[in-house]
């Protein structure tokens, strides 16, 4: 195996060995959200005609879980290595910073997709979920998890303590995912909040992902995808610069 594939495989094994926490627990909590919200709100809210609220919720909750797990994967792996110091084994090897970047991002993508796929499979046993276009669904799943995987690298390298990482997760990632239109479409929001939502990259992930199922969205999926690609390029550029200059990891 070459160096890149080894690192990628090691990162996969790292979460798979504790798959109960890293894949099944997020699946379970998403399914619980779904049960509770649908039980409480099913009769009262309808967002799209002919789509029950529960079914409307599914794609949003699925991608939210995918994004959170993609972020958690690269960030927790890196902070564990930098805190314990075992990241030096990767740094002592001839792996280039681009290979390191790609391996961590891909491992995040795989974990995100696994969680998403798991939730979809289980929910399909209980609900009928339309699927308009697998290609759109996949494109947004891929861009979303890749973007969060790259953000996770930045967070994992920047944070020096687990509390700092937890703070990022609780005060930035979590609110942004919740305020991205998982539980509503932003057309129902007052103009100020609508305007704010357009700045939130998570909004485009949720909106585009949902488009793949319902063929209905707040903005055009092409625009959403374009914005996400731009975000991904910008975040990747920053991440690659950090890795290249050895920010915090090569003293």
């Amino acid at each position: 195996m070459n160096g890149f594939l080894t690192l990628f495989y090691k990162e996969l094994l790292r979460f798979w060995k504790v798959g109960l926490q890293t894949v099944f627990a997020p699946m379970l909590s998403t399914l619980l959200y779904l049960l509770i919200f649908s039980h409480v709100l099913e009769e009262r809210v309808q967002v799209y005609p002919s789509v029950t609220y529960t079914v409307f919720l599914i794609p949003g909750l699925v991608i939210m879980a995918m994004l959170q797990n993609a972020f958690a994967n690269s960030s927790s792996s890196l902070i564990q290595s930098t805190v314990s110091g075992n990241h030096i084994f990767m740094l002592l090897s001839p792996l280039s910073y681009q290979e390191i970047f790609t391996a961590y991002v891909l491992a995040s993508v795989v974990r995100g997709l696994l969680v998403g796929l798991g939730i979809c499979v289980v929910t399909l046993a209980f609900f009928e979920l339309p699927l308009y276009s697998f290609a759109w669904v996949f494109a947004f799943a891929l861009m979303g998890t890749a973007l969060l995987g790259a953000l996770g690298i930045i967070a994992g390298i920047w944070a020096e303590k687990f509390e700092q990482l937890a703070a990022l997760q609780n005060f930035i990632i979590l609110p942004l995912t919740f305020l991205s239109g998982v539980f509503y479409t932003i057309s129902s929001l007052p103009p100020f909040w609508q305007g704010l939502s357009y700045m939130n990259p998570f909004f485009y992930m949720v909106d585009g992902f949902r488009y793949g199922f319902f063929r209905a969205s707040d903005v055009s999926p092409y625009l959403s995808l374009g914005i996400l690609v731009a975000w991904f390029l910008a975040v990747s550029w920053c991440t690659l610069r950090m890795l290249k200059t050895g920010y915090k990891i090569r003293k």
Binding site: S84, G85, I88, L95
Partner: protein, 307 residues
Amino acid sequence: MIPAIEVRQVHKRFGTLHALYGIDLEINAGEFFALLGPNGAGKTTLINIIAGLALANSGSVRVMGHDVVSGYREARRMLGVVPQELVFDPFFTVRETLVFQSGYFGMKRNNDWIDEIIHHLDLADKADTNMRLLSGGMKRRVLVAQALVHKPQVIVLDEPTAGVDVELRQALWRFIKQLNRNGHTIVLTTHYLEEAEALCNRVAMLKNGSIIVLDSVRNLISNISGLRIRLRLSPDTLPTALQLLTINHDQGSYILAIEGYSQLENVMTALHAAQIQILDMQILQPDLEEVFVKLMHGTENLESASV
């Protein structure tokens, strides 16, 4: 011949601390070399720069002719580093750790070699044990194994025997001596000067980020001027003329510093004249420790004198 390691005018600052102050060092292929110096001298920092774990503020480093920054892939393939800290990945077993490390270097079909180092470092019955469950000494062996997994030409060990029991220390040195005989260049830092003396051809002594001495062990020891003699006397006292020479007095024995064998005669005469009887006399051989202590104190005095 291309030097195994070539350090040119390396400076390293941590904020206002000037941790390395213009280091120049050349280590030849096949040498067994020791980097000595008190805590905080900059040994680990220098090793980190050679390994690419830290970046120098200026200057350059080559490993087997490859620049560690612009030619990092080749340089790192040539270099195996045993870090000072006992670091490990708690997710994996010993064998997994070694297989991954080998994979990072793109080694193909390396299992025979991995088995061989597991065997040589006496890790065979722990090969499938999780790293978390190993004792400190065992973790140290895995670190050594990890450094060797890609068959590097140059092996750097940062205090490999700190906190390691005597048995393992000896086993480790046998193994490393074997590697050196097979042509590998060995660079180590250690606090045990007798180890450096027994194993190394040349040593560099580092202090406050500068190399203050760079020489063969033999030259260093033979250049120590003068002799030390230990005397047990009856009565346990020295004539005033000899008190100036005393460097130590305890448990009924004196250690005197003299310039050479000719001065020995004067000491005898003075003792005889004062009617002091010599119960026992030993001439002490100088060792690296003495060189070390002398040099470290010597420069301290120089510094305080120049203030």
